[in-house]
Structures are given as structure tokens and as C-alpha cells.
């Protein structure tokens, strides 16, 4: 315990240095926000496995590593990269705009926004904070309740880098917006705290893809937060593609607020990372909202992937559909915790949750827990969970038709993942994910 506290002190000390460098240009509300966040973090420290929300996930590998704030080496790192280096995560030909962040900071030479039309805004957070801080305040200030969110508090304390996507009322974007967060090699492990703010005003429609990636074998820590505001009747499709290095740490929280009649879909596709924690929390703040959470995660070796989701039905007549699937090999571990809250006011709620895991080895393990908290009486809530292995009969059937064992296994694994991948409505992205899945499986063979 003492050690954990002293580890968190490092971040507090680092914060003081950070706050000094931010200096005069910082709007006062932001200073207050950061200060409040670091105090909250200082009080709680990093979570331990005694915290219910972290029961199965020890963050010791993160707290025991010393990370430098990544932007120290930014210029060199960014200069060393070309678009070619990031082509593997690129949605070049299909995205309206692509912002690339290297070690947390925007790399203008790798980014482009010329495909944007009208008053749709895709900018880096730094420049928005200095040019239009007033526009961001109402969203960033109310975004977080970080009492029990130590990592989100830490992200907020260091809030500076990241992206803003703003869809004005009635704007419809046919092509996706792509935000790429690349970690680039540095001499010692680095940490970045990317912050993404997505505001979809009334009746707007957009698809936003966030990709997180880093070079193979590299140790670093990504501590991200994405705030999403889906206005009345707006539609937002959000994709998070986590392709971090298998030696890295990735903790990220997506929090969405849904207004009347809006539609929000979150696709969380988690492939990399040594220790990964993905939180997705959606609040249906008004009637008639619809929320879909799709998740697919893959882990092998000794990696750990923890997915926590919360769908908060605060108002009546909202629907939610959640399906999470995991593929675990070797000694990989996974945690799935799916909380659905139906408040007393939320009559006629229709919520459905499914989570499935495919264990490719006897040593792989999943702890999964649906958590339904229902305070209304006229609601429909279902949940189902299943853990299974590849079907030996199916494997033999495929082999008996001439298909090699490896290929037969891959086919069945793809089949398991197919309903999640088929929901990805950006064709080149789906193709890329199929490949990522195949690649992930090949590493294992």
C-alpha cells in the first residue's frame, strides 16, 4: 500500500512541474479542473485489487514502472515517422480527416483535414484550448466524476493533448474521422494522457475512429479519456481500435452522454497491450435514446485485458444492446464486467447484454460478471454469458474436407468474431481488423 502511494506521489510531483509549464495562457477553469483532478488522484492513489472495480486486475505493472511524460521526445519521434510508417493503421482513402498524434502530441505533417466540409471541426485539443477555451469548458468541466476513477483523474490533471471533434447541428459526415495515437520509441518508458472530446450536436451524424498503436516490443503507457456528447436525434458511431505494442499498458475510458432520441454505438476492438483496461460508460440522459456496445478483444501470452462497461438507463423508453466477445490463448486473462443500471424513472427500458469468451488454451482464464441494477419495474433486461472452446467436431469436419488444422482453427475463430466484425460499417476498417485478427492468431501459431 505504501509503495502504491509513493508511486502516485511521483505523478503528483510531475503534475506540479507540468502545471508550471502551462503558465499564463491557461484559462482559469482549466487550472481549477486540473487541480481538482490531481487532488482527487492524490487522495485515492492508484486502485488496488481491494477495489471492487479492480478486483481481478492488479495495476502493479503500471505503478512499478517509471514513466516519463512522452512529449519530451516528441519532436524527434514525430520527425522520424512518415505516413508510410503508419499506413497500417491509416484509413487514408476513406476518411474525411485524419489527425495523427505521436506520443500524445499532434503531428501536423502526418495529419490532414482537407476532406472536411461545412463547419465540421476536427482539431487538436491544445490549439482549441488556446483559441476557443470557452466552447470547451461546459463539456470538459462536467465530463468527469472521477471520485473512483483514478486513471481518468490523472488524465484530467494532465489534460492538454488530444483531439476535438465537433459536429454542428444537422451536419452529416459520410466518411469517418480518424484519430491516430502513435507511441514512438524513446529511450525510457513514456506515458501519454490523450483526451478526446466529441460533440455531436442535434441531428448530426458522424463516425469517429480512434486508433492506438505503437512499435512492437515497446514499453509505454497510454492513459486516455474520450468524452462523447450525443445531442438530440444525433447519431454517433465510435470505434476504438487498440493495437498497442504487446509490452505496453493501455488504460482508457470512454464516457458518453446520450440525449433524447439519439443513437450511440461503441465498437471497442482490443488487440494489443500487456495490461489493458477499457472502460465504456454510457448514460441515457433522456428518453428514446439507443445505445449499442460492441466489443471484441484478443489476448495471448501472459497478457491481461479488462473490459468494464456501464450502461445507465436514467430515463424511460431507451434501448441498449451490448455484445462483447473475447478470444484468449496461452495464459492470457480477461475480465468482463457489464453493468446495466435501470433507474426508477426508466420505465420501458429494453436492455440486452451478451458476453462470450473463446478459450484457446486450458490455461487461459476469464472472470466475467454481469451486474444488473434495476430500480424500475416495467422493463425488459436480459443477459447471457458463455465461455467455450473450439468445437473439435467442427475442426474435424473442416479437416475432413481438406482444410489444414491451422486454417480450420482460424476459420472457427473468425466465425466466433464475425458477428462483431460484421457490425463494423467502414469496409476498409473491417478488412484491416480481419487481418489484425488473422495476424494476432498467427503470432500464436
Amino acid at each position: 500500500m505504501a509503495r502504491v502511494a509513493s508511486r502516485s506521489e511521483q505523478y503528483v510531483t510531475e503534475f506540479e512541474r507540468f502545471a508550471r509549464t502551462q503558465g499564463g495562457s491557461t484559462p482559469s477553469w482549466l487550472g481549477v479542473l486540473r487541480q481538482g483532478a490531481i487532488e482527487s488522484f492524490g487522495n485515492t492513489g492508484f486502485p488496488t485489487t481491494r477495489d471492487e472495480e479492480w478486483r481481478f486486475t492488479s495495476v502493479a505493472p503500471i505503478t512499478e514502472t517509471t514513466f516519463a511524460r512522452a512529449q519530451n521526445g516528441f519532436d524527434r519521434a514525430a520527425a522520424a515517422l512518415s505516413r508510410h510508417d503508419i499506413a497500417y493503421v491509416g484509413l487514408d482513402r476513406v476518411s474525411a480527416a485524419e489527425l495523427v498524434f505521436v506520443n500524445g502530441r499532434l503531428a501536423p505533417s502526418l495529419s490532414r483535414t482537407e476532406g472536411l466540409t461545412g463547419s465540421v471541426l476536427v482539431r487538436d485539443l491544445q490549439s482549441m484550448l488556446s483559441s476557443r477555451p470557452g466552447a470547451l469548458e461546459p463539456f470538459l468541466s462536467r465530463a468527469i466524476e472521477y471520485q473512483d476513477q483514478a486513471f481518468a483523474a490523472l488524465n484530467t490533471a494532465f489534460l492538454a493533448d488530444g483531439a476535438v471533434v465537433w459536429m454542428p447541428a444537422n451536419a452529416v459526415l459520410e466518411t469517418p474521422i480518424h484519430l491516430v495515437f502513435i507511441s514512438s520509441p524513446e529511450a525510457s518508458p513514456t506515458v501519454s494522457h490523450p483526451r478526446v472530446l466529441i460533440v455531436a450536436e442535434e441531428n448530426s451524424q458522424a463516425r469517429v475512429v480512434e486508433t492506438y498503436a505503437g512499435p512492437r516490443g515497446q514499453v509505454y503507457f497510454t492513459n486516455g479519456v474520450t468524452d462523447i456528447f450525443v445531442g438530440p436525434a444525433a447519431m454517433l458511431d465510435h470505434y476504438k481500435i487498440q493495437q498497442e505494442s504487446a509490452a505496453s499498458f493501455h488504460v482508457a475510458r470512454i464516457q458518453a452522454r446520450l440525449r433524447r432520441g439519439s443513437q450511440f454505438t461503441s465498437h471497442s476492438l482490443s488487440f494489443g497491450g500487456a495490461l489493458v483496461r477499457n472502460d465504456v460508460a454510457a448514460v441515457m440522459e433522456d428518453e428514446g435514446a439507443d445505445c449499442t456496445l460492441n466489443g471484441l478483444y484478443l489476448a495471448d501470452g501472459h497478457r491481461l485485458v479488462d473490459n468494464h462497461t456501464t450502461i445507465d438507463h436514467a430515463r424511460a423508453h431507451c434501448t441498449s444492446h451490448e455484445i462483447y466477445k473475447g478470444i484468449l490463448a496461452d495464459r492470457a486473462r480477461a475480465v468482463f464486467n457489464g453493468k446495466i443500471v435501470v433507474r426508477a424513472d426508466a420505465q420501458k427500458t429494453d436492455a440486452k447484454q451478451t458476453n462470450k469468451a473463446l478459450l484457446l488454451s486450458d490455461d487461459a482464464l476469464i472472470n466475467s460478471k454481469p451486474q444488473l441494477e434495476i430500480f424500475a419495474n416495467d422493463v425488459k433486461c436480459t443477459h447471457g454469458a458463455a465461455v467455450g472452446q473450439l468445437d473439435d467436431d467442427a475442426i474435424f469436419y473442416l479437416r475432413a474436407r481438406g482444410i489444414a488444422l491451422d486454417e480450420a482453427r482460424a476459420m472457427l475463430i473468425h466465425a466466433f468474431a464475425s458477428d462483431i466484425l460484421n457490425r463494423v460499417r467502414i469496409d476498409p476498417l473491417r478488412a484491416q481488423l480481419e487481418e489484425e485478427l488473422t495476424e494476432g492468431l498467427r503470432l500464436k501459431a
Binding site: D391, D392, D393, A394, F396, Y397, L398, R399, A400, R401, G402, I403, A404, L405, E407, A408, M411, L412, H414, A415, F416, S418, D419
Partner: protein, 252 residues
């Protein structure tokens, strides 16, 4: 083409086949009949390479090559095809995709050019017509939600596409109504050829009215107790398997 000598097979340490000897020459159709539990599916499975069967004694060769040493996929690519008694449902794996992978694996193995999507679809439509199958089933998952009869028909459809040299059909007739039986039988008959052999496992003479076998074997308790011409099947239907073991087995 297929030569089995004194084959002993156990599953979970339980002896099931207790010395099967059988040879099938190309161009021939053989029928294997026998009571439930006598080991017919075990024989088919052991030849196809189903895991869980231990060959404790004996040999099986296919065109002179030791069949028992090969992986199941290699046997299939070499031209052995087993139609499953209980075809497996594979949700999420598209029928056409699966069959194309299977066909191209065999073609590659034979040093032939792989078929592209267009060529494959043309071939498959042809074969689907032959078996009067609804082409939409190609876009469904393998056997998923198929009726019993549809599954059996799908097995024969796969055989028609893969064009094996040796086909072992394990109770493909069960679960088929008379119309479907005729369609399946004509599908099988259309594949009879001098360089192909077909082994049909069945309980009933009915199928053999349509696919007339050259040789009929009777398998009882893990042994072939009798072999004969097509009349043997009629006799069995008449008198049951009970009489079979009192007469000498021709094949041994």
C-alpha cells in the same frame, strides 16, 4: 484403390473394430450394412482420420499409400471423402467460403491452379442444380439450421464439388424422404466412374435400389461376417442380420 487388412480400432480403450479386411477397386460401389453399434461409422471415421480412434492393429492403404499415417486433411486432399452420418453445424463459417477453401486446398495439393471466385461460383451453381439445391444455402453458414435432409444433401453436394476418388457415405440415406433419396441417389450415380470408388454405409435396401452396389458386406460386432453381391442386401432386409454370421464371410 482402398485396401484394409485386419484393422483393429479402439475408442477409449474399447475395441470396436476387431479385424476388418476389405478391398475396394476403383470403379466399384460397395455397400456396408450391419446392426446399430456394429462399427460402421467407426470404420468410416478411422479411414477419414477422425481423432479419438486408436488403430491397434492392421493396415489401411489408399492407392498404395499408408492412409493411417496421414492427417485427415491430407487424406481429403488425396481424394478421400467421407459424408458424415451427422454433419456438423458450423455457425459463422460461410458455406461457399468453406467449400472454396476445401476445393482449392485439394487443387493446390494436386498442383492445379486454384479457382477464383467466378470460376468457383460457376462450378458450384452447376452442382447445386444437379442436387436440386437452393443456391441461397451457399450463403448460409455450414449446415447451420439445415434440416436433417438438407444436411445430407449438402454432404453429397460437397462430394459433387470436390470430386473425390474414394467416397465413403455414412448413412446418407437416413432422414431423406423418397424424393430427396432419389435426388441424392442420382447425384451419387452421376459420379460413378471407372476411376472412382464409392462405399455406402446403410441400413436399408431402399437406397441400394437406386445405387446398385457391386459388393455388399455385412459388419457385425466389428468384423465383416459376410460379403456378397447385391442380392445379399435383399436377403438381409428379408431375414435380418441374424443369419449373417452363420454363413462364411466371402471377403476373408
Amino acid at each position: 484403390m482402398l485396401s484394409i487388412r485386419n484393422l483393429h480400432v479402439s475408442a477409449n480403450n474399447k475395441p470396436i473394430l476387431k479385424g476388418v479386411t476389405l478391398s475396394v477397386t476403383s470403379g466399384e460401389v460397395h455397400a456396408i450394412m450391419g446392426p446399430n453399434g456394429s462399427g460402421k461409422s467407426t470404420l468410416a471415421g478411422a479411414l477419414a482420420g477422425r481423432p479419438g480412434y486408436d488403430v491397434t492393429e492392421g493396415e489401411a492403404s489408399f492407392d498404395g499409400r499408408n492412409l493411417l499415417e496421414m492427417d485427415p486433411e491430407e487424406r481429403a486432399r488425396e481424394g478421400l471423402f467421407m459424408a458424415f452420418q451427422y454433419p456438423v453445424e458450423i455457425p459463422g463459417v460461410n458455406n461457399a467460403y468453406f467449400l472454396k477453401a476445401a476445393l482449392n486446398a485439394a487443387r493446390k495439393h494436386r498442383g492445379e491452379e486454384e479457382l477464383d471466385a467466378m470460376e468457383f461460383m460457376a462450378l458450384v451453381r452447376d452442382k447445386a442444380k444437379l442436387l436440386q439445391m437452393d443456391a441461397t444455402m451457399l450463403n448460409r453458414a455450414v449446415n447451420e439450421g439445415f434440416s436433417g435432409g438438407e444436411k445430407k444433401r449438402n454432404e453429397i453436394f460437397q462430394m459433387a464439388v470436390l470430386e473425390p476418388r474414394l467416397a465413403i457415405l455414412d448413412e446418407t440415406d437416413s432422414g431423406l424422404d423418397i424424393d430427396a433419396l432419389k435426388i441424392v441417389a442420382s447425384g451419387v450415380n452421376s459420379m460413378r466412374s471407372p476411376d472412382r470408388a464409392i462405399v455406402i454405409v446403410t441400413h436399408y435396401q431402399r437406397l441400394l435400389n437406386y445405387i446398385v452396389p457391386d459388393v455388399v458386406h455385412v459388419l457385425v460386432d466389428g468384423r465383416i461376417v459376410r460379403s456378397g453381391g447385391k442380392e445379399l442386401a435383399l436377403e438381409l432386409e428379408d431375414k435380418g442380420y441374424g443369419t449373417a454370421d452363420v454363413e462364411p464371410a466371402v471377403a476373408r
